[in-house]
Point group: C2
Chain length 437, copies 2
């Protein structure tokens, strides 16, 4: 008998029928002889509706009270899910984040988990009950206040529970069959990935793949939790996300067992996948004096805005002017704020002007295999060049190459790169809507 | 500076506008220099909607999970109310039943308060914050589970908080101006009562007056909490409900001060009010052998159904048959269950047949003054007789006379009795809809 943590998102429990469907699925796992702990999100659009209500009451809701409000969402879904399971003849108990021992810092709206003390969950499991935990929420020990974990919080709840309870596997149920080599809505021949390292998954998630949240993957990697991303609409095996460094010569399987590394390693492709992101904008600072400390000064200004800077590229400076241009990308939502901050300190920073471009697309090719293969970037640039796509920025990490192109060419870029690296499936992937969250 | 507990029902906070209106009212009280603790119900029909959702999932929801579900309702309203107050520049903090220290027994759906430990509320008050508490909910220490207090629970929450915090007054806000001598929708000349004893209020509430719940009044009487029932739509003084035995020669006022008893006692009318109840049915057990122990045997059968038996009348037995008839009233909802239980044990109980009549109306005349005035029942019977209304059952307590009539005559009965006892106001009362809960 193994312990399985399952996470179901809001779209899986959007109405009474969905709740009963999910309940049935949980009961099947229980009947197969496993202990089951479930993290569940709020039903459908509940969280957005509660947010709207808050904004009807006041334009800037107090963070403590907003968290109190939003946590009502999972309270509703978890209670309904528990009563659905009980009506099917199995014992089930729902627990709020604080009852589940999900201890966080006091940062309302984006709290971080600092400890998990699942005393009541263990008691319930010992009693033979199925445990249902509210996703997304926690509790601060000092203030004794309720907190929420922010975007993707229910994934993080599931992973944190799996780590604390030493679960054999953490299943993330979604409305797609798993993690794909690229977005199947854009690349029809995208293939479902059977196994991917958490490192690669992090790069894909950070570069536009929406199936898993970065924080949850990070948490899973740090605590060696094996994830199984799979569909709540069928029983197909999905994608296993694992940390190869922790699994000591073996790779985990969907049923919680492990295979010897040799069997699977040969299959390991050089490239895990290719992702695109259209949500970033490019800011170029023109005519930066090419003297030591200037870049630091500029990015201190940017850092104060809390904007999440991604790619940074600095051109060689002009021999004539002694000045250079610095470009970087930020989420479009942060663009205006960053521009304002820079403009305000323009004279002190000493640059000439600012350019803003939100018509860019970012493509990221990810694969642990590229560490040992030097031809990857050449192949990437050639594929894009053959398709007549111009590259505006390049940045690389050990297992990733990112390029910025015009926004309207990024989907074509995805397809040609997918083909060039031999990722195309024989069949066209079946596409479901939504992102399963 | 005094401490005021205020309770707002669901109809007062049915939307964002209502929440802002209530927030403003609370802030006004704070600005007047008082500490304020608020008990709030779920918004509008939220509780019913959550109940519907539960029944969509399963016909018989598990009680623990149903309580978990329903408590989401007040969580939403209290968080919105607290953020509305904060947006008006005053500190406010919301607390769930368990955070507020509302300790109950483990009876899900109708838990009873066993202790109130408002440690966090006192801290918040000491910090100068306005305290918002979720009505209707509590927490059991042994199971560590969330409970709900059942019908009228928010009134009880408010009274329990007032008792535990030794509040100067507990204001129950509703959509009528206070407690009336009779239902203004039926008796247009019903008068608002300025002061009423908790004993009289209990009798009125038990006999159909819907403005306050019996449990809350009982709790208030036991803990000597002074209630002020008033409208959330104006600033008029409402009705003071108080325990004369506890107030030691003085009667409390709306502002928390007291007046000497002499000033007010002379105004104390003999009759407090007259209430009607159309929700009961009459069961008659025909041909009960008139031997000792028979009535006990029959009411043991009834007691097993948990039906709430109200009036019981036994006729003199027939000299010919040695048998008698016993009639009693029960809530219509319980009628079928009681009939079944009796029918099942008919032969053992030895009665001849059962009659069921749900076309009855019950009228109750309530007043502490009738203790010392023997002419009350004669006057009541005469008023009904003059109006051609037949009396089917009579029962009395020290401060109440109840009669059962045909259902279709009970409204006329209310009006003629109201007039006969000099309760009619000079003006016609303004009638708002609903019952404010």
């Amino acid at each position: 008998m193994s312990l399985i943590v399952q996470k179901f998102g809001g779209s899986s429990v959007s109405d009474a029928e969905g709740i009963r469907r999910v309940a049935k699925r949980i009961v099947e796992t229980r009947k197969a002889g496993h202990d089951v702990v479930v993290a569940v999100s709020a039903m459908g659009d509940t969280t957005d509706e509660l947010l709207d209500l808050a904004h009807e009451v006041t334009p800037i809701p107090a963070p403590r009270e907003l968290d109190m409000l939003l946590t009502a969402g999972e309270r509703i879904s978890m209670a309904l899910l528990a009563m659905a399971i009980k009506s099917m003849g199995h014992d089930a108990r729902s627990f709020t984040g604080s009852q589940a021992g999900m201890i966080t810092d006091a940062q309302h709206g984006s709290a971080r988990i600092v400890d998990v003390t699942p005393v009541r969950l263990r008691e319930a499991l010992d009693d033979g009950a199925i445990v249902i935990v509210a996703g997304f929420q926690g509790f601060n020990r000092d203030t004794k206040d309720i907190t929420t974990l922010g975007r993707g919080g229910s994934d993080t709840t599931a992973v944190a529970l799996a780590a604390a309870l030493k679960a054999d596997i953490c299943e993330i149920y979604t409305d797609v069959d798993g993690v794909y080599t690229s977005d199947p809505r854009v690349v029809p021949r995208a293939r479902k990935i059977d196994r991917i390292t958490s490192e690669e998954m992090l790069e894909l998630a950070a570069n536009g793949a929406k199936v898993l949240y970065i924080r949850a993957v990070e948490y899973a990697r740090r605590h060696n939790v094996v994830l199984h991303v799979r569909s709540s609409f069928n029983n197909n095996e999905g994608t296993i996300v694992y940390n190869p460094e922790s699994s000591e010569g073996a790779t985990p399987n969907a049923d919680g067992t492990v295979s010897k590394r040799e069997e699977t390693d040969v299959e390991n492709p050089m490239i895990a996948g290719v992702a695109a992101d259209l949500s970033e904008a490019k800011i170029t600072i023109v005519g930066v004096p090419d003297i030591p400390g200037k870049a630091a000064q500029i990015f201190k200004i940017v850092a104060k805005t809390n904007a999440n800077v991604d790619m940074i590229v600095q051109n060689v400076s002009s021999a004539v002017t002694g000045r250079t241009d610095i470009s970087f990308t930020v989420p479009m939502n942060d663009g205006h704020r960053v521009l304002q901050a820079l403009e305000a300190e323009k004279s002190e920073a000493g640059f000439e002007s600012l350019q803003y471009d939100d018509q860019i697309g970012k493509l990221a090719l990810v694969g642990a295999g590229m560490r040992t293969n030097s031809g990857v970037s050449a192949k990437l640039f050639e594929a894009l060049s053959d398709a007549g796509i111009n590259i505006e920025m390049i940045s690389t990490s050990e297992i990733r190459i990112s390029v910025v192109t015009r926004a309207d060419t990024v989907n074509t870029a995805l397809r040609v790169v997918h083909t060039a690296f031999g990722l195309d499936a024989d069949d066209v992937a079946e596409v479901h809507g939504g992102t399963g969250r």
